[in-house]
Every structure is written in C-alpha cells, then in structure tokens.
Amino acid sequence: MTRPQLEAVAVGASAGALEALSVVLPALPPDFPLPILVVVHLPPDRKSLMAGLLGDRCRLSVREAEDKEPAEPGTVYLAPPDYHLMVEPDRRLSLSGEEPVLFSRPSIDVLFETAAETYGPGLAGVILSGANSDGARGLRAIMNAGGVGMVQRPDTALAQTMPTSALAACPKALALDLAEIAAALRDMVESR
C-alpha cells in the first residue's frame, strides 16, 4: 500500500521534552525536506531557552515561529511561550493568545487539529514525554484525517501520562522509542 507523501511533522511534548527532543531532532539530517512544528509546554515567560538549546544540538535550523510566516522545509518551528501555534489553510503559521486549552498555551491539541485540517494525510503527528493528556485529541484528529500517528513508548518516557493518553485515544498509532521515531521519520521521507 502506498500512502500519500508527507508534507509536515507536528510534535508535542511536555515534562521531559528537552531530553526527548534532544534525541529525535539531532537524528534528522540538515536537508530534512519537511517543516517540523513543535509545541512544548513551557512557563509563559517571554524568553525561552529551548530554541537555543535544541539549535546547538541539531543540524536543522531551530527557532520560534513568527506570525504568518510560511512553514519551510528543514526548519524546526517552536511555539513561542504563551501563544498557541496554528497552521492556516495557506500553510502559513499563525499565533493566537486565545484561552489556554487543558490549562496549556501553547496547546498541542490546537496545533495538531489545525495542522490536520491543512495537511490532511500529509501530516505526521508525534507525541513525546509529558505529564498530562494534551495532544491525545489532536493526534486523533491527525489520524482521522489520514495522517501518521507516532507515540513515544510510555515505558521509555520520562513522564508517561502524555504518551499513555495518546495511545488510549489512538490505538492504531505506532508506539516507538525515540531512536525508532527518528528512523521512521527519515524512512518516510527517503522512500519518496
């Protein structure tokens, strides 16, 4: 069975995010041909060190998303602290200060649901370590739209609640460890 080409990757993580992302993202080549959109729950302070820390460890360029910028391949876009990150139908990224969802702004569900509407079957959603249930609904939206769902195997996650909730909502999602997630992403773009 052939599946449609991937066009973007959306990633959500919370507690244990830096450790998990520090394994997955550095394993991707600098010419990785898709945009990678990332929501990490962080305190709402203006300045986050996350982009700098990840950027130092990766071969991809890593930065906080700017409102209305087009999502480019080979770039990791982080949701800025205290803003929801969304994907517009024209594939530009947009930010919003509307109410937190499940106490979180940015919210993984909000990114995943809006990205699923834009990319449909061309989206891979990845849920990593975290201590709450954000992302479960969003991953279901991605899979319902025909996209790929991957979840960090709970027994390998620093905080298991997020992967466990995502797997409960999406039993067909692939449960993989971090190295396998990176390998799967590489494979999915190489086979095209």
């Binding site: 209305k68 910028e69 200060g97 909000v110 834009t118």
Partner: protein, 275 residues
Amino acid sequence: MPETVEDIEFRLLLEAVLRKYHYDFRGYSIASLRRRLRQARERLGCRTFSQLQDCVLHDSSVFPTLLSYLTVQVSELFRDPAYFRAVREQVVPYLRTYPSLKVWVAGCSTGEEVYSLAILFREEGVEDRTMIYGTDINPEALRKAEAGVYDLDRIPLFTENHRKSGGKSSLSDYYTAAYGGAVFDKSLRRRAVFSDHSLAADEVFAEVQFVSCRNVLIYFDRELQNRAIGLFHDSLSHKGFLGLGARESLRFTEHAESFEEFDREERIYRKRGDR
C-alpha cells in the same frame, strides 16, 4: 485540502455577519476564527455553521454572543512589562518634546492597555498634555473599558506587571476596592476617549504621535494586516511611534520599509521621515 462543506458554510456565515451586522471578519486568520466559531456553534446549540447562520440572521439577540467568540478579549494591565518599560524609558523622552500629544490604542479590548498608558504618562509627568483614544469593535469590551472595573483577583498580577514596567508609585494609588472589584480612578480617564472603530472597515480619524496596537494583528491575515498598518502609517505624524505585540512584527507586511526598528526586542517602530 479540497474545500469542504464546512469551509463553504464558514464563508457564507462571515458574509451573513457582514451583510446583516456590518462586521467584516473575512480577512481574519482562518485557523483561529474557525476554532472559535465551532465553540460558538456548540454553545448556541447548532449542529452546522448553516444552522448558526440561520439563527444569527433571524435572531439579533444572539449576535452579541457570537461577537464574543469572533473577537478574542484577553488582556492585562501592563501586559509584557518590558514593552511598557521601553515606552517609559525610550519613547516618552521623545513624546515629552511635543506640546500636545495624541495616542491611539487600537484594539483596546476592556481598556487595560489604555489604563496602563494613562498611569505611565501620569508617572512620567506628561499626562496633562496627552489625549488617549482607545478603539475597538466590541461594544461590550468598550463598555467595560469605560467602567474601568477589574476583578480583584487580577490585582496581584497587575501590581507585579506595573512594578516590572518601572512603575514609580504603588498601583494601589490608582484604584479602590469595592464590591469584589478594583475600580480604577476616574481621573485616569479624564484624558481618554473610548470609541468604536474597525481596523477592517473604517478610515483614519486623527493625527497621533504614538499608536499602540498589541495582540490584534495576529488575528488578521496578511492583507488585513497591511490595511491596518497602512492606517497606522497614515495616522502617525512625522517620525511617530508604532508599538506592536510581543510576537508581532512588520516583517511579513508591505509596510516594513516605511518604518525603522526603534526597539527591535519590544517591537517598537518609528515612521520614517522620508515617506
């Protein structure tokens, strides 16, 4: 993705709102607007946007509720204190040199940004020569802005923000607690005017030296952002200042060249003299 039935209904709903209520949401960011309209649909007990359209066309009493979903009303006193510190320390020294000063707070919501500036201008000794115009499209928000009453449980955050902005007095000097609310001093409003104005439909109404428009442009698509910034440009006097929200910039707009970056970090721009 191909156009879905819901996409069609979404467009028709916005068209209906424009024709019947004269609010133009067609240039707003779609992802966020669609989410909020789905929430409204659920709250109003409608199954589809077509049903919601039917409901809003035939019963004007539901429109205020719908409008509360169409416009995001999140605000704080001295929200992003570093912005207000930059206004205080870097913009006010220029504004001080004008004998009279007009400031436009576009998309002022429930007034927090206007009160923040009114307090700041008082502390910096330029209050008496300053007029502040607070404008918004949401009448309920404007009513609250006029009243200047905020929940008491927000005061600790407001106080902390005010302090971080370089506040020269105690925030408690500016409000009295009554009936579970903090009532801001009416004298702060002596030089403020609140009025209805849409960045999507209306024209420039005054010449001002400073426009503060924070956390409004992110809800607009690029075309509407261009329109709004064009209004700010036309409204600003020679070398006037434009302050945007913490995550907004002129970078992806057609007016980037008409302004210089004055404080890059705090998203404060200055109109270039040569255009």
